[in-house]
Symmetry: C2
Subunit: 417 residues, 2 copies
């Protein structure tokens, strides 16, 4: 993008976190000039032999060539014990680019496989940026030797920078967890700011660990946790053609292998992984295009968890609610509207609505003690919790979103990403 | 609302149309001060004895007390041959107002029934405006004598004014059609500007005719035509708690009775009614909050009409497409995205996209002859047609929407309707 956007007011304090090196993973990033000038726009991650890898992707019917390529990789399964690579470019999504799209993906993978001495089917690809323009793969392949020469265990921060588009800050998160007396590390990066919506895998996110995790367990954990992290956020209800989340486990920590999803080690690892995925997903919301408010929507008492999530998303995607939040207007009537339109069971007279700890509505009407001034004061916060009780059952869900502001309009009416 | 919004640039040329009187229907509008000051905010329509009446309403799970009241009226059926009344207020939606809501509706209906000498269950009610505040029914009932005193066959324009909220122009449409050698008139009014979305009945609309139509036929026509008119528009994907569409037929033209939906007379009447409903629905889009572009989305070649409509609505509701249109950016990649996220069958390599007559994309990629300058020039128009071909089957649908602008944010971040 030509102009530089100001950093989101919701960016995590302290900037990009201190990230541990993950034994068995090295990174590099270069300026390849795919579309942007004067910034790194291609990153390479090299993952050691013997690792396992899992992925989830957008369910879009018009998903991009790199997404199709990655899906084929996972379907083909491991080609022996060889290492893996992830090549990501920003500036061009290589989506809706016809036959040319898959050819560009193929050329990139072939070149990366040769440069690293691994099978083509071990090269995972992502592209993010404008849709419908041919990907100049030669600009990427021309830089592969330089990328390989610069691979470093400390390069994850540069990688996080290289995958940004309208993002205003790079996104990373790390956790450690003890597995059988050995500490394993989990480190992830992500990008995303607009075209963020439910029913997807995510935007681009890459998570690495030195734990030892069997591939089926890794895949199952990733699928399940995606539902309560990346699939529980929305910026604008628009689902990308390119959403990809990859998770690689190198085993280099030497911790006991996790080969069953229900073991104590699996539970501990899963909890740490959940924290990393949720933190990254929330960072996407914090960098939502034009966002000035970070909003958690908690729904409880629904007939099922799925019903609670649909009601939560109906609230989180409502333009009228998101604009009211932008205007710091405690317009709880619009929440009633969004509950009503969700197409899920709801009984007006059992609904309760809280702003944080403030009881706003109950018994089918405004709460007797609610004062508009309290709601208005609460809405001035940068981080809001909207809590809805349905009073029908045990179903619950939490989703995260941001407000809808003039900034979103400005970014998307003027900028072609 | 305190401040006055400028009239939409998409308002029909010529202003409020010349509307015929409908024999058997009289209107009045007054300033009752329900919420707004210095403008008419309550309207009464009196419908002669012997008329038939049909209605469709929002499917929201949190629909308003007046909607529930009207549904009960229709379920109860006609109470003899007595006339009907419609009482509508703006400024307060009487939604999510607990027991108080239905009591306010009951008091209004009881008073109107007494003033006109008709059964309570023949009084239809609508309220539009802020959600969650008690309706001051006494301000409406206090004005009933004044309303009855001012009833006039020429009052439909005043009625159209009285039901406005964020609307920037009153909405009306009329058609005539020959039924068995007799000309019958159809005249309708509507309001709506925000909280306009699919899967609803409509915002508020009232249509009157002097044709003679059996109630089951009237109801069936209204239900079917709503799907291709009011249920085929969207401003912001938010479905109201109050959407109501009522259609009354007085029979006063003396034309032959339409008592079968498949007769030639029914077909002719239905076609004219379709025109009125579609025109009114499109006027809601033209007055969409902040709208500067009127957009028709045509989808063809889908596996079914329902699938085509869902894809059309995915395009029409996409914030990224609507902001691109606001910015006059021919960003057709976002249309590909919206097709992909619709959850409907689509084959990337069979998709075609047109802007008006300009072929933009075909065979899974940008069309060979497409020039960005042509697309950019087209987007400068105030009225746009986006045409999508799926190449899969015979399913087709057309939906209408507007762009998403700074004006929408300003109206909804600052104004509590």
């Amino acid at each position: 993008m030509a102009k530089s956007l100001p950093v989101s007011p919701l960016a995590p304090a302290g900037g990009f976190p201190q990230m541990p090196a993950i034994a068995g993973v090295r990174f590099a990033a270069v300026e390849a000039g795919v579309r942007y000038k004067g910034r790194r726009d291609v990153m390479l991650a090299e993952i050691a032999a013997g690792s396992t890898i899992a992925g989830v992707f957008t369910r879009s019917a018009t998903r991009s060539a790199p997404v199709l390529w990655c899906e084929e990789n996972l379907a083909a399964g491991p080609q022996g014990e060889a290492g893996y690579a992830i090549v990501v470019n920003s500036g061009n999504a290589n989506a809706f680019t016809g036959r040319n799209g898959m050819e560009a993906a193929q050329r990139t993978a072939t070149a990366a496989a040769a440069a690293l001495g691994i099978p083509e089917r071990h090269v995972f690809l992502s592209s993010t940026g404008v849709i419908g323009e041919p990907l100049p793969a030669e600009r990427i392949t021309a830089k592969l030797d330089e990328l390989v020469a610069h691979l470093s265990g400390d390069g994850i921060g540069d990688a996080a920078q290289a995958i940004m588009t309208t993002d205003t800050f790079p996104k990373g998160c790390a956790r450690s967890v003890g597995i059988g007396g050995t500490t394993v590390q989990i480190a992830g990066i992500a990008k995303g700011s607009g075209m963020i919506a439910p029913d997807m895998a995510t935007m681009l996110a890459y998570v690495f660990t030195d734990a030892t995790v069997a591939q089926p367990v890794l895949q199952q954990m990733l699928r399940e946790l995606t539902d309560v992290t990346f699939n529980a956020i929305t910026v604008d209800s628009d689902t990308s053609t390119s959403d990809s989340l990859l998770l690689a486990a190198t085993g280099r920590a030497g911790a006991p292998a996790i080969d069953r999803a229900d073991s104590a080690d699996a539970t501990a690892f899963r909890a740490a992984l959940h924290e990393v995925l949720l933190d990254l997903a929330q960072q996407l919301v914090r960098d939502g295009e034009g966002a000035t408010k970070f909003v958690e929507v908690q729904v409880e008492g629904a007939v099922s968890d799925a019903s609670a999530k649909r009601i939560g998303m109906s609230i989180a995607n409502s333009p009228l609610i998101k604009t009211a939040i932008a205007g710091e207007d405690p317009n709880w009537g619009r929440i009633v509207m969004a509950i009503g339109k969700a197409g899920e069971p709801a009984d007006r007279d059992r609904i309760t609505i809280h702003f944080g700890d403030i009881l706003v509505a109950t018994d089918g009407w405004v709460a007797p003690g609610y004062r508009e001034a309290d709601g208005a004061a609460y809405m001035k916060r940068a981080e809001l919790v909207i809590r809805v009780g349905l009073g029908l059952g045990e179903g619950k869900a939490t989703v995260w979103t941001c407000d809808l502001t003039h900034g979103y309009i400005s970014i998307n009416a003027d900028y072609r990403s």
